[in-house]
């Protein structure tokens, strides 16, 4: 049989089956099971109406159980077995936690988790605000949104070309190296490679310190009465900010003291630690469009007269943005942030296509793939999958909770 004909047949059978199921089961419920006649007519109608939602939901629920719920338990069960199929209990998990590559994956995932949602949401919000009231804003938005239409693998291939490196003697096809070779230590090099990064890192350092101070200030304020738990959380947050600030300070020093290899093309994807950021750039590039579209709609929804009231109250554009607009769309920002967070936890294709986890870029999903389909170790692979699920679930629950709160 011609495959096209087969496909048509499948569509006809599938759609017909669906329609037939809903129509016939509904008919059965109303005419046979709880007929709306006889002495029990009223009771039967009520019962039929109580059953009907479950009747209609049944196919979806059954398929979700079969393809989503059952695999979770099956995976968990598999994760308790060794490569040869023998029961090993938590052996896979202990072995995994001792493996350096797993620790590296976990660390990298954490890094992705912090950087990508923050950067994508931040850039998205910036793009949404900046394109809001200009004539060519829609063109800009389309351009920023376009990467959403590219698959992760396709985007990875594009960026692999951007990061490509050739011998210094021949022309560079990689955009980044082509730019890099323009720097030779002159005034522009200092400006772009010392001063600009220093300003960025310094600004981030100050922002972190300021955030930490905002967290800590209420504790020092004797007038504020707060629960000890909240106080402890504030102190902890302040300490974390201090540690991050210290790390940023070290970077700031590094920006000035590093010896930069001018004139030599760099294999960007092979520079440990930083190469993770080059991979993240791909996902940020894609997700910024998503964040921008949602946040742009949310910004449009902010009542115009609250903004006008703020203008009359004397607020400048920054105050209007941060004190009037952003708080009003905070719910949407959280939903966008958590949605991207979940995408990040599942990130796999980008790493697989660009480095395959080499040079310390491994992430959990690719680690799982390695174990499952390359080493064919079903136990270890399943254990890795369970870890990813354990990380995603709380964020997912929070995300759904927030999204529902937004809808109310």
């Amino acid at each position: 049989m011609n495959p096209a004909f087969q496909a048509l047949l499948v569509i006809a059978v599938g759609v017909g089956g669906c329609v037939g199921y809903f129509y016939l089961s509904n008919l059965f419920l109303d005419k046979v099971l709880f007929p709306a006649r006889g002495p029990q007519a009223g009771r039967n109608i009520n019962r039929a109406n109580a059953v009907r939602p479950w009747l209609f939901l049944f196919p979806a629920l059954a398929l979700l159980c079969l393809y989503l719920a059952y695999p979770v338990f099956a995976t968990f069960w598999l994760s308790l077995h060794g490569k040869d199929g023998s029961f090993v209990g938590t052996g896979n998990y202990t072995a995994m936690f001792q493996e350096p590559k797993f620790g590296e994956s976990l660390r990298n995932n954490m890094l992705w988790l912090v950087v990508v949602p923050a950067a994508a949401t931040g850039f998205g919000l910036l793009a949404a605000q900046l394109t809001d009231r200009i004539k060519w804003g829609n063109i800009a938005k389309s351009l920023i949104f376009m990467p959403m239409a590219i698959s992760f693998v396709g985007a990875s291939v594009i960026f692999k070309l951007v990061y490509d490196s050739r011998d210094a003697a021949v022309a560079q096809i990689g955009l980044l190296n082509a730019l890099w070779l323009k720097f030779e230590g002159g005034i522009w090099s200092v400006l772009f490679l010392r001063v600009l990064p220093a300003v960025l890192v310094g600004g981030l350092l100050l922002a972190v310190l300021w955030g930490g101070w905002l967290l800590l200030r209420p504790v020092l304020d004797a007038r504020r009465q707060e629960k000890p738990l909240i106080k402890a959380a504030r102190v902890l947050g302040g300490l974390v900010a201090l540690v991050i600030a210290f790390e940023l300070g070290v970077w700031l020093l590094g920006v000035f003291t590093n010896v930069l290899p001018y004139g030599r093309p760099q294999a960007w994807l092979q520079i440990p630690f930083w190469n993770s950021f080059f991979l993240m750039a791909v996902l940020i590039w894609i997700q910024t469009g998503f964040a921008m579209v949602i946040l742009s709609a949310a910004l449009r929804g902010v009542p115009e007269d609250t903004i006008e009231a703020a203008i009359l109250d004397g607020a400048n554009p920054f105050q209007i943005f941060f004190k009037v607009k952003v708080p009003q769309i905070m719910g949407t920002i959280v939903v966008v942030w958590t949605t991207i967070t979940i995408t990040v936890l599942k990130v796999f294709d980008i790493v697989l296509a660009m480095t395959n986890g080499q040079w310390e870029t491994q992430v959990l999903a690719n680690y799982m793939y390695d174990k499952l389909f390359r080493s064919l170790d079903w136990g270890m692979g399943s254990a890795a999958a369970m870890v990813i699920m354990a990380l995603v679930t709380p964020i997912l629950i929070w995300n759904v909770w927030n999204a529902r709160k937004e809808m109310r």
Binding site: P303, D305, T306, E308, A309, A310, I311, L312, D313, G314, A315, Q319, K323, V324, P327, Q328, M330
Partner: protein, 361 residues
């Protein structure tokens, strides 16, 4: 202390001038009400005073200082929006103190101003609530409180009562009147399409129509001595009856023969040269009385609306004459389908020629 002066102010969107030749002199302590049909530009004019819309021509000044290009926050004005425009994520206290915080006032100063405003507006128990936990009337009071704390020279109100239900509207109207009384030195500009609000609150009313000012005056001036047919019909409800006629006798009193056959005598003086002039005779429904003698109108009552204190009579139209409405005191439903004969006191009969009142020639 704030005198507002608008001189030849105009507003154009591209080629279209929506407002032009706006000349207005607002004195300290006045409560000026802008009224007019929807789309007449009254809100636009208020927003131009606020600085939310650019003034495209003419000069606007407060206390002699030209304000055309001064940012809204520095004009010394505060505005109350129709939709309240409260910041939904801030408590009542934060809403009211936002402007002072932006202005970097001290905490003690802010607390004092907010507490005082809250006391005046009876909002003290609600200071830590979010706007969504307040009723419509309370939200409107917060919006007013937000402008009071800034202690502005000029208060602007953009249809502040139109989102409230009828009972609350009357109560809040009284509150605004009391507020005005309590602050005799502040100037207020108030936009509404509700003429009851305009008549009760205003020290002077500005009627806007067709992109310009139709008349400025105290509420009773507008009612008793309208400058033109538009104002005559806009102020008062139901609208003033206008009937075409021809001047037949002039002097201290003017006699007009109406196109419907009636005779109207008006206290408006005319000169001999006016004899034969085509005029519109205007009589308010409430000024019409039943008579046995000379009549303005005589027709069958097509329809009655008894409101209790008064009864509205809708007279049958004769030919292409405009519909006449009369308002008689008491309940007079029995007049339906009967013939009535109506006249009016000469002092209450207005004459218009070419749309303009003969009083203002």
């Amino acid at each position: 202390m704030a005198d507002l002066v608008l001189k030849d102010v105009e507003k154009a969107y591209g080629e279209v001038k929506v407002l032009k030749d706006i000349n207005l002199d607002i004195k300290t302590g006045e409560l000026i009400v802008f009224v007019g049909p929807s789309g007449c530009g009254k809100s636009t004019l208020l927003r131009m005073i606020a600085g939310l819309e650019r003034i495209t021509g003419g000069d606007f000044s407060i206390d002699g200082v030209r304000m055309n290009d001064v940012p809204p926050a520095q004009r010394g004005i505060a505005m109350v929006f129709q939709s309240y425009a409260l910041y939904p994520h801030m408590t009542v206290r934060e809403n009211m103190s936002f402007a002072l915080r932006i202005a970097k006032k001290s905490q003690a100063e802010i607390d004092q101003a907010v507490d005082k405003a809250a006391r005046v507006l009876q909002l003290t128990p609600y200071l830590d609530r979010l706007p969504k936990a307040l009723s419509g009337g309370q939200r409107q009071r917060v919006a007013i409180g937000r402008s009071i704390v800034r202690d502005p020279k000029v208060y602007l109100f953009d249809e502040p009562l139109s989102n409230l239900d009828a009972a609350l509207r009357v109560a809040t109207r009284l509150e605004i009147a009391q507020l005005k009384e309590a602050m005799p030195n502040s100037t207020m500009v108030y936009v509404t399409h509700d003429q009851v609000e305009a008549m009760t609150l205003a020290s002077r009313i500005v009627v806007l129509a067709g992109g310009g000012i139709a008349q400025v005056g105290t509420p009773l001036e507008l009612y008793e001595r309208p400058q033109n047919e538009f104002v005559a019909q806009f102020i008062g409800s139901p609208a003033m009856n206008l009937t075409p006629g021809e001047v037949v006798d002039t002097g201290a009193q003017t006699t007009v023969r109406l196109a419907n056959g009636g005779i109207a005598v008006s206290a408006v003086p005319t000169q001999a040269a006016d004899k034969g002039m085509a005029v519109n005779v205007g009589v308010r429904p409430e000024d019409l009385v039943e008579t046995k003698g000379d009549r303005l109108f005589e027709a069958e009552v097509e329809f009655t609306e008894a409101l209790g204190e008064v009864t509205l009579l809708h007279l049958k139209r004769t030919g292409d004459q405009p519909q006449v409405v009369a308002k008689l005191p008491g309940i007079r439903s029995e007049l339906r389908r009967t013939q009535v004969r109506l006249t009016a006191d000469p002092k209450k009969v207005h004459l218009f020629a070419g749309g303009k009142s003969l009083l203002y020639r």
